[in-house]
Symmetry: C2
Subunit: 214 residues, 2 copies
């Protein structure tokens, strides 16, 4: 059975996976790039940008697992773009550029479905109005036996955790206090009982947490 | 100048420093002993209990710093006992036994002052109705040039952090999701800017965080 995985998902000490006030220019709102500063120097991120180099650090050891064996991603609408409600600008194809780093089908959860968009490099954006279980069924079908990644944001991951659909989760806890935004942990009391949880801190200051289904 | 320090303060992944529903039998409410399970095996805790043995672990290396150079403690009323409002049972002298582990003056913040209680072993409980700055002044006076420890709970530590009165803070992040209780981090956006923050994970599963004033 294919697994459902979360990778490289950053949260602040106070559990926010994104800041307040998302806009076109600020996908993470007032958090800016602070939640992902650990990720940018890694070889994994540099390769995503089509560059060479980058550090082969502890952070990179975690980061590079994100694509292995993944056949599809599910993401919340706000990871695709900043628009809310009915789509007013269908020409804008999201934050991810002409050749998005996913290279698989990507299922975007929205109450406002629109036609799929085929991008360069194997990424296709599908827009579906579905809850976690139904979305996962569609993604598994598209993944052809490979694993499905739940890409975020915090609300989407929380919904999949609440529905007990996540098999593996890697979080990076960043030593900042964001104060406001979207929380990951709400309404997940006792989550640790379903997982083997480990923590390892990195010289970058980030603490990597892994949750593996028991 | 004497420093103001926090030691061995445990929080859950979702930032709760205590659970919901404190009672005489459950000082940490529904959290039970889960927030402190890392602490009990340490030499430091065993010595507090008048026992020998215990582990000389990474956890103990952090734990044992709590008493060095401390001349007084400040704690919130709920760390002393479970009673709310006017004191109805002054014969009950708190959770800490006849010979509390503090061995210094302890200032308990309460809107209901009562006469001081002298315990065995050098601990005196003083009950004062004061905000952080005034309480700290009294504790510094009593500490005779030594440092002052802010003992918790979460609300008390948060108030001292908000007032920028903490010089050093050691937290232990426990890999559980409590879901409810008292949060440490609320209203502390940007706290990390005032501190040098480091993290190290322990084989026990806990991640130790240190905040040292910049």
């Amino acid at each position: 059975m294919s697994r459902v995985r979360v990778h490289n998902f950053s949260i602040s000490l106070d559990g926010f996976g994104t800041g307040e006030g998302q806009t076109l220019e600020a996908p993470f709102g007032h958090a800016g790039s602070r939640l992902h500063a650990w990720f940018f120097p890694t070889r994994t991120f540099q390769q995503m940008q089509g560059k060479s180099g980058g550090s082969a650090s502890i952070d990179d050891a975690f980061a590079q697992n994100w694509a292995h064996g993944i056949g599809a991603e599910i993401m919340g609408r706000n990871k695709f773009g900043h628009q809310r409600g009915p789509w007013v600008d269908e020409d804008w194809k999201g934050w991810w550029g002409d050749d998005p780093p996913f290279h698989t089908p990507v299922f975007i959860l929205t109450h406002h479905p629109r036609p799929a968009i085929t991008m360069e490099g194997g990424t296709t954006f599908h827009f579906i109005d579905a809850g976690p279980a139904v979305a996962l069924e569609a993604a598994r079908e598209a993944a052809g036996g490979l694993d499905v990644r739940i890409g975020g944001g915090p609300t989407t991951i929380r919904q999949f955790l609440a529905a007990d659909l996540i098999d593996y989760m890697h979080l990076a806890v960043v030593p900042i206090v964001l104060g406001r935004g979207e929380r990951l942990w709400d309404s997940l009391e006792g989550l640790e009982q379903r997982f083997h949880v480990e923590a390892v801190s990195s010289p970058s200051g980030v603490t990597h947490l892994t949750f593996a289904r028991r």
